[in-house]
Structures are given as C-alpha cells and as structure tokens.
Symmetry: C2
C-alpha cells in the first residue's frame, strides 16, 4: 500500500493489537466508566480557578496511579490559575516522541437549558440520544454489560474529558495487556482551551525543553458525520469583525419620520447583502486571493470523503446549502464569512414603532492556509469603505455625524491564522496507518477541519507539527446544553489512542 487514504481499495482489517485493547476494555468497563463519571462530576467551567485546580489534581492522581512519570502542573508565570497537566513515559529504544493533547476545561453552562432530569455536573446514563428518544437509565450493576449505544450526558462528556480519559485508558490498556509502546509519549492536558488558550503560548515557552516532540496529537472534537474515524491535518483560523451603523441620535417615531430619517437596520441590510452573491460566494475584493491551493494528495483525500450533505441536511432540517457548488468538505476548505449575530432595536413583544438608532452585526471570518487574519479583517473594512461608509472605531461625534452620509463603527478583535500539516510527511502516514489499523471502515482524511484551534502556537513556539484525531460522536452537543458522549465512541477512542501509542 502506498498511502492510507486509498485504503478503500483493499480489504480493511483490525489489527490483533487493537483486539487486545478491546478485550482489556471489555473486562474493565465498569472501572473505566466509574472513574470517568467521577471526573465528570467535577465542575470544570473555564475560568473558575477552584474547579479547574480540582480537575487538574484529579488528572494527576489518575496519571500517577497508572505509573506515568514526571507528573506535574505546567503553570504559566503570569496566570497561575490555568495550569496544564503534564506527564511522560520514556520508551527504551524509541526514536520518536508524540505528545497527546486534550483539554479538561469545559464551556460555561446554563443548567436551566438542560433537558429534564439532566444537569451539567451530575452525569446521567441514557439509553440513546435525546433526539432518538433516549431515556435516563441506571448505571448497570457490575455483572451487567454496557450497551455501546448508551450515552453519558454531562458537561465535557465529549469536549474534552472523553479525550483525557481515552488517552489515559489507552496507555493503561497497553501496559495491562502486556504490549509495548513504540514511541515516547508525553501527556499534555490543557485547562483553558474554551477561553481561547490565552496563556498556552507562555506554557509552551516556559516548558520548551520538556515539550520537545515529533508530533502533537490533538484529541478533541468529533469523528466524521458519516460515523467514520477521521484524521484531520489542519484547522481554520478565526477572526471577528463587529460593525455598528448609525441613524438618528435618538429613537424616532416611525410614523412621524418613517422613510425620511435613515434607518440603520436597512443600511446594515444593504451593506451585508453586498458581501455575498446569490451562490453564497463572498464578493469582498480578494477574499479568496491568498488561499494556497490543495495538494494533489489533499484533493484525492477530499474526493474520498464520504458524502454527508444529504444526511446532515435531513438531520439539521434544511434543504439548500449556502454555497451552490460546494459540499460540506469543500466548503470548510475555504475562508468563510458568517453572521454570528445581528441586532437592531427589538422584535417580538418588545417591538415598538421606532426607527432604530443603530444596527449591529458580528461577522465571523474563518481562514484557511495562506490567509492572514489581519489582512482578511482589513478586506472587510475596505469593502465597507467601498460602500460609502466613513469608518471609525468609536461612537461617532456630532462633527462626524454632520460630515458623513454613512458611518460605521468597526471593532476588530484578535484572531489567529489557520494551521495545516502536510499529509505527505512520514509521521502523517504513520498516524493514518495507526488509525486505519483500528477499523474495518476507511478512515476519513481531512486537509482541514471547519473549526478553529490555536494550533499555530505549537508551530510558532516549538516548531512542532500537529495532527488531530478526534473521537466524539458528531451529535455530541459540544458547547451547548445536553452535551453527551456515546459509549461506542469512547470505546473506539481508547482503541484509536492505543494504536497511536503503538504506531509503526
């Protein structure tokens, strides 16, 4: 075989090693899930230093119990509340070092939004997903087995405590099954991913020597929507632009002044409509100009991605995708412009007969390899200017109001660039082969994920490569209420992580 993405052309099989890992897991399901549930019971809201420290302590204990060496907190000098948890296992004779990354902090929660009987930090077992009429069931007694379709509901069940636990149990399974690592492994569990990893760069700099490796293996996010395992070689970058346009200084009666005074909501509507054509393509000048074309290998990988458009459209309840000529895998390979939110005065019961004074939109720019986030923001600014707007960064003064027909206040927040690792690298091929060895289905290879992570930091501070191997079910409600992990995904995740620790 040449490279793994053509693996649909021959018989796929699971390796004997993987079957041993599975046997170990099957024999230890109750213990594994008991520890996982205890972990999920610890509130881990990002930014809550007390909760974060309890979680870090829990992980350190779990690591020490497994005989992992050099367990410690990596603490950024300027913020001691967001430690990463580190540990390592040196393998005699190994020439490669892989750092397994997951994060243990979770998104903020609104318990009131969770379904009846569920609560973010009181994990529950369900017979299926809520959408498929799953109901709460008791955890089975030690003599009973777990149905792999069951799910555990709780904050971070999938994002990303499942990652932490899959990695630790994979190591356990290898050791306890009498198998051997093929590489040195290091563990790095981050504690502030959900806030944007503001201090990650400090940790990488401070612990530069400790964190040398051949690859960071990122275990975060969901498998492919088709249910197949996937290896993801990049992430999109991200940047935001908030725009507010202005009408009258005070709300005007829409009868007395309607269609005489400028309506900022209508102004914003016209401005935003000018940013896309009828096929969903962004019309801002040079928006797609810097995109580095896909390599031949990436193109072939994309062609092999199982089509999920119809499945996802049915699941999500719409019929027409935004970009006429691009399916999901193609669309996320392009820079994007999305409205995250838009507001002007009120709708619903608070609506009143006014001409609003302002209208605001938050635009989300996703970036791919080749894009520079500041340049991309600037293109949006230039486009707004080209539509006749005077652009400012503050509330317009009376003088500005008297001088310009159209005024936009633009707030450019911090962003970061995309990151991509070449599929052609020898270590990339090792990763693909390892994941493929765990499944009889072809592994999906994605040049980039649609989402964003600050993976550029690893390159910038450590010159390190990154590849993501996610494990959660795609319908895991990540970041929202009713977050969950399907047990089968967790079990498969353990096998995947173990195969990576024994990569050939």
């Amino acid at each position: 075989m040449s490279v793994a993405f053509c693996c649909t052309h021959f018989l796929l099989a699971q390796s004997p090693d993987v079957l041993k890992i599975r046997q170990y897991r099957q024999a230890n399901e109750h213990t594994i899930l008991s520890e996982f549930v205890s972990f999920l019971k610890l509130p881990n809201i990002v930014g809550d230093s007390v909760g974060i420290h309890k979680n870090a302590t829990f992980i350190m204990e779990a690591m020490k119990k497994r005989g992992i060496a050099n367990v410690q907190l990596l603490v950024p000098a300027s913020n001691k509340t967001v430690p990463a948890v580190y540990g390592e296992v040196i393998t005699p004779g190994a020439t490669q070092t892989i750092i397994f990354y997951a994060h243990y902090d979770g998104q903020p929660v609104n318990a009131a939004q969770w379904a009846k009987g569920l609560s973010p930090f009181e994990p529950q077992l369900l017979s299926n997903s809520l959408e498929q009429n799953g109901t709460i069931i008791d955890f089975p007694t030690a003599d009973k087995v777990f149905d792999p379709q069951w799910r555990i509901y709780g904050r971070s069940a999938s994002d990303d405590k499942a990652g932490v636990m899959a990695i630790l149990n994979a190591y356990d399974a290898i050791v306890k099954s009498g198998m051997k690592l093929t590489v040195n492994i290091k563990f790095f569990f981050e504690g502030e991913e959900e806030k944007g990893s503001d201090f990650l760069h400090e940790i990488l700099q401070q612990y530069k020597n400790l964190l040398q490796s051949d690859l960071w293996l990122i275990c975060d996010g969901p498998v492919h929507q088709s249910g197949k395992k996937q290896v993801v070689f990049g992430v999109r970058g991200d940047a935001h632009v908030e725009v507010t346009v202005y009408g009258s200084k005070r709300p005007l009666h829409s009868g007395h002044y309607g269609n005489w005074a400028p309506n900022p909501a209508m102004m914003l509507v016209e401005l935003l409509a000018s940013m896309k054509d009828e096929n969903g393509r962004v019309t801002i000048k040079d928006f797609y100009a810097d995109v580095i074309p896909l390599s031949e290998m990436e193109k072939k990988a994309l062609e092999a991605v199982p089509p999920v458009d119809e499945q996802m459209k049915n699941e999500l309840g719409f019929r027409k995708r935004e970009m006429k000529d691009h399916d999901l895998a193609q669309a996320i390979g392009l820079p994007s412009l999305n409205i995250n939110g838009m507001n002007s005065a009120n709708v619903g019961k608070n609506a009143s007969n006014v001409i609003p004074t302002t209208a605001t939109v938050v635009l989300d720019l996703r970036l791919v390899a080749g894009n520079d986030w500041k340049k991309q923001q600037q293109r949006v600014v230039e486009h707004i200017k080209s539509q006749g707007y005077y652009v400012t960064t503050a509330e317009p003064t009376d003088e500005e109001r008297s001088k310009y027909d159209k005024i936009a206040k633009i707030t450019l927040s911090n962003g970061y660039n995309a990151q991509k690792t070449s599929m052609d690298l020898p270590i990339a091929k090792q990763v693909i082969a390892a994941v493929q060895s765990t499944t009889t289905e072809s592994v999906v290879l994605l040049p980039t994920a649609g989402g964003s992570l600050p993976l550029f930091l690893f390159e910038q501070y450590l010159k390190a490569k990154t590849i993501s191997v996610p494990i959660a079910n795609h319908d895991n409600n990540q970041h929202a209420e009713n977050e969950n992990i399907r047990l089968l995904n967790f079990w498969n995740g353990i096998e995947t992580m173990a195969a990576l620790m024994m990569m050939k």
Copy 2:
C-alpha cells in the same frame, strides 16, 4: 382672503379675542399650572384601571367646576375600565357642533430611564430642555411670573394631558373673560389611546346620538418642527408584518459548518435588501399604486411648509435622508416601509461562534389615503414569495423543511387605514382661519401627519370629519423617558383652543 394657507402673502395679526384670552391666562398662571401639576401627579398608565379611573374622576371634577353640562363617563359595554369622559356646552343660536378630543391615558414608564431628579409622576419644573442644559427649579411663588421657556417634565405633560388642560382652560378663559362661544362644544377625553383605542368603536356606537357633530377637533401631538402652529388634515394608517426566516434546526458551530449551512441572518438581509432601491424607494410591486394624488390645494399647502430638513438633520445627528428626492413633508405623504426591529442570535458580549437558527424582522407599514392595509400587507407577502420563499404562519414542520429551500413565517397583525379630511371643506377653512387668528406667523397646513391614529373610526361609526390641531413642542419626548411640555406651547395651546371655540 381666500383660504388661509396663502396667508403668508399679507400681514398677519392676532385677533383681539386672543389677546383677551392671553390676559386671562397671564392673570391665572399659578392656578392653571397648579391644577395641571395635580393632574400630572396621577399615574395614568394605559391599561391600569385604577389609575385611569382616578384620572377620569379628576377630569369630571374639573369640568363640573367650570360649569360644563352633562358631565359623564362613556363606558364601553364590554370593558368598563376604559371610560371616556364627556361633557357639553350648548350655545344658544349656534348651528355647528365641535367635539374637542384629547386623551388622558399615558404610555408605560420606566422610571429608571428618566434623567436624574426626574420621575414620571412627580412633575418638575425645568429652566429649559435637558438637551439645552435645563436644570430643575422650584415652582415660583404666587407673586412671580413663569418664564415661557420653562418646561414641565412628567408622563403625559405633552401627550396628552396638556391637550385636556388646554381645552378646559380655553373654555374657562372665554367664559371668565366675558366672551361667547360661537359653536356648541362637546368634550371627549379618551382613556385608552396609547393601547390602540381598542374599545373606542364601542363607545362611538353606544353613544352615537350624544356624539353627533360637524367636526372632531383632535388636540394631540406636536406643532410643526419649525415651531409654527399647524393644522393637520389626516393621519397615516398603520400595519405590521413580522417575518422569521429559518436555517438549521439547531445552532451550528460557525467553524464546522460555516458557509455550508444556510445562515438565516444572511437570508433575511438579502430579502430585506430586495425591498428598497438605492434611493430609498420601496421596490415591492404596486407599493405606491393606490395612493390618491394630492389635490391642488394640498400641493400648494405642502409647498408652503417651512423647510425643516436641515434643522432636523442637525438636531438628530445625520446627514443623508433616506429618500433622495423627498423632504420630510413629502416623505410622510407616501406609504412607508420601515424596519422597527431586527434580530438574529446575539451581538456584543453574548455573541458566540454560531450560525443562528432564525432571523426575525418587524416591518412597519404606514399607509396614506387610497391604501388598504390588508392589501399592503399582502403585497409584502407576495414580494417575499417572489424571492423564492415558502410562506407559512407557524413554525415550519420537518416536512416543510425538507421540501422548501427558503421558509418564512409571516405574522400579519391588525392594522387600519389612513384618514384624511379635505382642506376645501367650509369647516376646514373655518378651522384654519381660527388658528391663524392666534399667531403672527403663517400656520402650517399638512395634508397628513406622518404618525397614525385610528381616526377612521369616527368616519366609520359616526360619518364624522376630523381635523387635528396639536399644541406640544416637537421635542417633547412623547412616549419616551423625560417627556415634557414647554410652557409657551401650553399657553399658546389655550389660545388656539379658545379661538376654535369661537370660530367664525
């Protein structure tokens, strides 16, 4: 002189009658304002039946004290909490009957939004408007005079307790100055105008015989922005259309699905942008088709309206009006389409990286003579259909979602048509002449106001004519926090109402 709107061509003078009214007022300012302030202290929030009844009782007492006959509550059979207050004065030999209309209910209040030291129902005297750095001052002792630039701040100070008090004091001034009415007068003070006059039609039907007249004289709203008195012959009708468009059933991560999943905010933006051209004209088919052209007299009146565009643009802080070819007086003579409010997901600190599930807009349609409100709403619906939307009145079902590319839920709320009285009628000329007799400035004659009142009810149920003669300052903050009346406007209002009671 032929008709009054050409009165700029000759010397304007105030009539001797008006000067007598003024003398009376000057001699009684303290008494008049003391009663007005007591009235303003009574909370009158529309829908609060207890407050409304206290106000009605206060007015009845004030009428009886003045010797007005047949004072009574007119109570709609199906809602006893919203009585109108009625009274009458029959003038021997008079052949005409004028009903003076004002309303005593007020808009809801949010005391926290009022400026420091001000409170909706604790009226205060200020040395000027807040915008012109007015400060709170004590009411002067009985030996001191009131500066006419002073203002009283409180809910309904201008809208519309000033109307009630100007009418009652005008009658008082005539009687106490030994002058005579020339017409029979009836008083009609409504108690639910700010909620849309839902039961007014019942009152008009039940008390049909009592409410016969040659004219309803509506004393509500502000004088012209130029500061000149105005007579207004019509109001625009009003109707609303709320539109919600749909994307995915659940919020999607704007990274994972950005620019693949449809973004309802962007869909709404494109839909709304299709409704207007670059000159602010509505592009919905036949939107302006039914407008009855202005009569020659109305055209001349419009030409004579003092230009206020520059003044108002400065005051309101913008430079470019919405419709390129229409000044304020012209713009409000057309049917309008305004965005009252627009929302999709969140902006500001609650913004998140989502593709919203829905986007909603509330459209306000103002209507002029010739428009039918249901037909106008239907034109908006047809336009939305013409943009490829499937239109429904409920949340879309899964079946509908799978069947249609674009789905809009449309809610059509109740509206009403415009109302206009001809400027050519003899009684219209009498009104114009009466108002003109009170001022050395030319009176502004407006074919229609921009705002809406359900004046069609008077025609529908009583076959009655209506003409509006407003008295408040245009910067009175009607409906909002810091509502106020400038004393000069109140004094002038008394003179105007008196002149109308003595119209020739």
